[in-house]
Structures are given as structure tokens and as C-alpha cells.
């Protein structure tokens, strides 16, 4: 049985008239094997084979996929889609036996880089394949190097609606001619991440890591269920660690007062943090309220299983020494969200030539990253700005910045540091 543990961190005391309750919930997987999954795993591989991939990129991608296929355990299933103007299923779903691996590799060899980029057709092919194994852990890798064709945009929107909840997708952009926003839209809806692979020779290492994580997953289709009192409103629900994912608009509402947020599949020893911000009816001093009840729900064969639960409370007090304290986890992740926003808006300002705004925002980002000891982000920021004073956030924009470095900062701006615990080394970024 996979055991989930849910813990809430908050300062429940709020002053008279206050109507906002903030809490961080840490969810950790503890122990054992497969509740909620058949143990079956399907790995889908989608590789961009449009004309722009021609040359080093397509060679490196083909090599990386061949290696990936070799690494697949025999009990996993896989399929491969070559993506151009239409999705071409070059290897339909099959168990990863030595024999089928041979056939897959032969099919990979035939791939040629030609034509345009219509991602909706690639996802359509993947959706068909995943439909064969609805109870499996369903993970997809999508590699591309360019922008989606304009005429595919509306089709992609509709396809994402169809794919949501059907499989998860990790998106990787190789080089610097792709759009962060575009891939993030796909990975966000399909509960994966978006990252940059700056050079083709790094594709293989990245794929290995994605596969490792995918194979580590034990439970699929986990929902975060939040009960809130009548008359309340969820201002936001965000995953805040290991990276920031806003789930607010993603909720299903199975009944009144209950929101189900998708969290996808969970692996061994995985731990994530969530930030809830709930607007409640204000109470009187002395009142105590259950402002939220958060639980994890695993659905297996249509049967829901509640696996962990934690409470979010509100206690109104006129004791200021109690109500003015901010829980340090809430403060930390509020800071991390501000950091990500400063980077995104700073890079945007830089892009449109507004240097003053860009300098101010990226300077603020440097300060926030320093304060929260988010060293990974600090390192990325230093490639874009010259830091004069970390504590005060005084910076100068660098004149010559590699496009890949700016994109790396943009894609990884949502990675958060975890709050420093006495027993962990400072500066470790996530996990």
C-alpha cells in the first residue's frame, strides 16, 4: 500500500475582521507498492521530426530515443510518434521485449526531418495509444525545437482538453527557437514540466532522468480534494514545491463545497508542497472555524479512496502577538512565488527593451533568491545580469546574453527552494 502523509503548516490565528486563511500542506509518499495502479506503465515518446530538426538535432534525438528504448524494463509498454505536419505512429504500443525493442529501433532509423510542426496531431496519436491502457501509469515525453504552426493553435487547445487527465506529458525544447510559453501551456495542462535542453548532446541525459522518474511512479490519477465552508472561496491553490504550478482554475467540482485538483502520478518517497489561500466569512473574536479540509483521493477502477487528510483552521483573536506571526513556510513560498513573477516580468521587460523596469525586477529577483537561498536560481540570474550587491538587489543588465541562458532562466524560474530545515544542507534546490 502506498502511504500518503499530509501535514498542514499555518498560523491559524487571525485578527478580527480578517477573512483570509493561508496554509502550506506538505504531501509525502511513504513506503510501499501500488495502491491505485495495476503496476502497469506506458511510456510514450513523441519526437519532433519537422524540417528544422535536420542535422545535429535529429541525429542526437534519434540516438537518445534508441538509448531510451534499450533502458525500458521488459514489463513496461511503449510507443513512438514522429511529429511533423501530422503525427506518424512509427511504433505502436507494445511490451518492451527484446524483440519489440529491435523493431522499434529499426523504425527509429527510418525517421527523416521534414515538414512543419502541428503538435495537436502528435498528441492525438498519443491519446489513442494511451487509451489502450487506462489503468496504467501513463507518461509521455515530447521533444521539439520550434514553434507550433499558427493554424494549429485552435486545434491544439481542443486537443489539450481531450488529453487532460488521460496522460501526463514532460515537454523539452532543444535549442532556442521554441517558445517557453507554448510548451508550458502543454506541460501545465498535462501535469508535466517544461525545460530547455541547450545542446543536442544533452538530450540523452535528460531523457534518462525523465524515464527514471516516470518508472518510479507508483500511483496515478491522484486528486487533491479540498472541502471549504459555505460562503468561502478558494483564492488560489498552487503546487509550490518542487516547482510552482497554479492549480486554481483546474478544479473539478464533484459536489458543492468540494474541489478536486489534479496532481497526476506520484512516485516513491516523492514530496510536494501546496499553498492554499481561502477567503472565508469573517468570524468574531473567539470563533474557531474549519476553513478547509484537504485530502488526497486515489481513484482505482472508478472507486475513490481517501488516503490522507489534514485540516486548515482559522481562530479569530484580539491577541496581536498571535495574529501577526506569519508561518515561516507560508512566508517562504509567498516569497518564492514573488521571485518567479519578478523573473518572468523582468525578462518580458528586457525583451521589449524596457531596461529600467527589467533592471529593477531582475534586481529584486536576485535579492529574493539570495534571501531564500535559492542558489540554483541565483546561478541562472547571474548569466543574465551583473550582480553588484546581492543583499540589496542592485544589478546591471548584461549586454551579451546567450538566448539559451535567458530561456533557461525563464523555464526554471518556477523551481522553488524548500524551506531550510536545520537538518538539511543550505542551498539544496528541491528534492
Amino acid at each position: 500500500m502506498t502511504q500518503f502523509k499530509a501535514e498542514v503548516f499555518q498560523n491559524a490565528y487571525i485578527p478580527q475582521g480578517a477573512d483570509e486563511v493561508n496554509a502550506i500542506m506538505t504531501v509525502t509518499v511513504e513506503g510501499g507498492l501500488g495502491l491505485g495502479s495495476s503496476g502497469e506503465k506506458v511510456i510514450g515518446i513523441i519526437c519532433d521530426t519537422s524540417g528544422s530538426m535536420e542535422g545535429g538535432k535529429i541525429h542526437a534525438a534519434k540516438d537518445a530515443i534508441v538509448r531510451l528504448v534499450w533502458l525500458l524494463p521488459a514489463d513496461a509498454s511503449f510507443f513512438i510518434v514522429a511529429g511533423g505536419e501530422t503525427g506518424d505512429l512509427i511504433f505502436p504500443i507494445a511490451k518492451a521485449t527484446p524483440e519489440s525493442k529491435q523493431r522499434a529501433i529499426a523504425a527509429i532509423k527510418t525517421i527523416k526531418a521534414i515538414g512543419g510542426t502541428c503538435i495537436s496531431t502528435w498528441l492525438a496519436k498519443a491519446l489513442e495509444q494511451f487509451a489502450v491502457a487506462p489503468n496504467a501509469i501513463r507518461q509521455c515525453i515530447l521533444l521539439t525545437d520550434g514553434e507550433n504552426e499558427k493554424q494549429d493553435e485552435p486545434l491544439l487547445g481542443a486537443m489539450l482538453n481531450a488529453c487532460e487527465g488521460q496522460f501526463q506529458c514532460e515537454c523539452r525544447g532543444v535549442g532556442s527557437d521554441w517558445k517557453v510559453e507554448e510548451l508550458r501551456k502543454i506541460s501545465g495542462r498535462l501535469l508535466g514540466s517544461t525545460d530547455i535542453i541547450t545542446r543536442p548532446d544533452l538530450i540523452e541525459a535528460d531523457f534518462r532522468e525523465i524515464l527514471q522518474r516516470a518508472l518510479n511512479k507508483e500511483v496515478s490519477d491522484v486528486a487533491l480534494r479540498l472541502w471549504t465552508p459555505l460562503g468561502s472561496r478558494v483564492r488560489f491553490c498552487k503546487q509550490v514545491s518542487p516547482d510552482i504550478v497554479d492549480l486554481t482554475g483546474r478544479a473539478r467540482q464533484p459536489k458543492p463545497q468540494i474541489q478536486d485538483y489534479p496532481t497526476g502520478a506520484w512516485g516513491k518517497a516523492e514530496s510536494r508542497d501546496y499553498h492554499f489561500c481561502i477567503e472565508v466569512k469573517s468570524g468574531e473574536v473567539g470563533d474557531e472555524m474549519l476553513a478547509g479540509r484537504a485530502s488526497l483521493v486515489v481513484t482505482t477502477g472508478g472507486v475513490e479512496n481517501k488516503v490522507a487528510e489534514a485540516r486548515i483552521l482559522a481562530v479569530w483573536t484580539d491577541d496581536e502577538s498571535k495574529s501577526t506571526r506569519i508561518d515561516r513556510r507560508v512566508a517562504h513560498y509567498t516569497g518564492q512565488a514573488e521571485l518567479a513573477q519578478s523573473i518572468q516580468e523582468g525578462l518580458e521587460a528586457r525583451g521589449r527593451g524596457d531596461d529600467d523596469v527589467a533592471t529593477a525586477l531582475l534586481g529584486k529577483a536576485v535579492r529574493l533568491a539570495h534571501e531564500s537561498r535559492n542558489e540554483a536560481t541565483t546561478k541562472l540570474l547571474r548569466k543574465v545580469v551583473e550582480v553588484e550587491n546581492e543583499e540589496q538587489g542592485t544589478v546591471r543588465l548584461k549586454r551579451l546574453v546567450a538566448k539559451e541562458d535567458a530561456m533557461a532562466l525563464e523555464t526554471r524560474s518556477t523551481k522553488t527552494s524548500r524551506i531550510q530545515r536545520p537538518d538539511t544542507a543550505p542551498g539544496s534546490n528541491q528534492e
Binding site: L230, S232, G283, G286, D287, E288, M289, L290, A291
Partner: protein, 294 residues
Amino acid sequence: MIRLCPQCSVESPTEDRFCEECGTRLEVPASAPPDCPKCGAAPEEIDPDGYCAACGFRRVASKRDRFELTVSPTFAGLSDRGLRHHRNEDFLAMDTVAEDAHVIVVCDGVSSTRDADKASEAATEAAFRSLVQSIESGQDTRRTALMAAMAKASAAVTALASAGDNPATTIVAAVARGAFIDIAWLGDSRAYWIGPDGPARQLTEDDAESPESHAITKWLGADAPEDVLASTVRFVISGPGHLLLCSDGLWNYLPDPAEMVRAGADATEAVRSLIEFANNSGGHDNITAALLTL
């Protein structure tokens, strides 16, 4: 609806709390728990921890938050959370033992300590049990019994101490029997005598720096000075009147409770109106009052 007195089998209307014939206390029927006081949701919407599944608010009237003790029409007490504190840190115990000995203990937990509610409860229980035992075993030598009860209460509160927290409480205990009332106390919880006319007479002297400061100079708890002894006083009953024990949540608002006590139809009504008065005046602290009419 009618029900029978368990003592004399005379019928009484259900709303009566005492048998008209013999005065026996009629068992209060297990009435349905109230609806959610905030949103009016049905009782079944309220979870075992008291939270309403509709509006989320916790039902204020948990057992400890407000509890009423009625020994007889002339002997009753009430302890209430008040309006400003999120829990009730006062505690109260009272009963009539060995037919004619009336025992009352009131404690007020010092709210700067974390387990103030546990401190007042432990002290009350220990002192009360000790007094009842002394009286029932016939060793009722009043002052000795009271001092023994104080020692038991002190030990009970001291046992609650943990690293970083020394729970503490005030205490006032009274035994009324025959022509005497004997009282012992530490801190600023009080005892009053209220005669047929005139103002109430305070029988205790607050162990406090000044009546305004609320900084008590004596208390029960692990951090109490070791050589501190409870003060005691003996009051000689010379005529009819009322004995009132209360915490500062009451006397802060009502320095002279005489009129209100005399106006009560019975002891229960009187303590209810006292607590109501304190709450209407602001209810800034927990409020406890115990009344014995002699």
C-alpha cells in the same frame, strides 16, 4: 409531557427541573444537541470535533466552554468561556456531602501559561476530592481539611509542568456547614457574603499587587514561591444570606453582585444572570460563579 419523580413518584411537567412535592432534582432528559449557532445547520451536520460541515464554524458551546452545575434550587454554579477568549480556562466543582456540608471550589487558570485550562481543572478536581474525602471520613476540622486540599491541588498543578511551560491557576475553596463558612484561597478569585440587604461583603482578600493591575502575587503552579501558604478565613453565619464564589471575569464588571443575586428566582437563575451581565459588559475574560443560598 409529564414525568415521574424518581423519589416520590409524583408527576411533574417535563420543563420542571425539581419535583414540586419533594424537591428532588429531576434528571434532565438528553435533549437534542442544538443546531449550528452560526448558520442554523442541522445537528447531524456537526462533526465529532464540533465543526459545522456547512459553515465550518466550531460550535462554541463545547462541554468545557460553558457548563452548569445544579445541586439543588439553592445551590448552583456556572462557568462560561466569555466572549473574547477562545477557550474556558476557569473550572468549578461543587456538591453537598454528608447531608449538610456544602463544598465549592473555583479555579481560574493563568492564561499566560499554555495549559492554563488543564491547571484549573486539575487543581479543582484535586482540592474538591480531598475536601469531600476529609468530610466523609469525619476528619472535618475545616482549616486542616482546607490546607490539605490546597496541598493536593498544588501537587496536581505542579505535576503538569513541562519544559518551557509552568501551568498556573488561582483557587478559592469553601466549606459551608452549620454556623460556619471556612474559606481558603490563592490569587484573586473571590468569595462574597450577601445578606438580606446592603452591599455584598468580600470575605477574601485578593493576592494581587492592586485591584487594577491583575498581577497576582500568589498562585498554584510549579513556579509558585515555595513558602507561600494559602490564606484562610472563617465566617460565622448569623442569619439568612448567600455565599458567592467567583472568578475575576465576574467581579471586574460587577464589584457588588448583591442586588443581582437577591433578584434571582433560584440559584441557577441567579448565576445565569450574573454570567449574562458579564458577557453583556464585554465578556473579556472567562466567567465563573457559584452560589449557595443559606
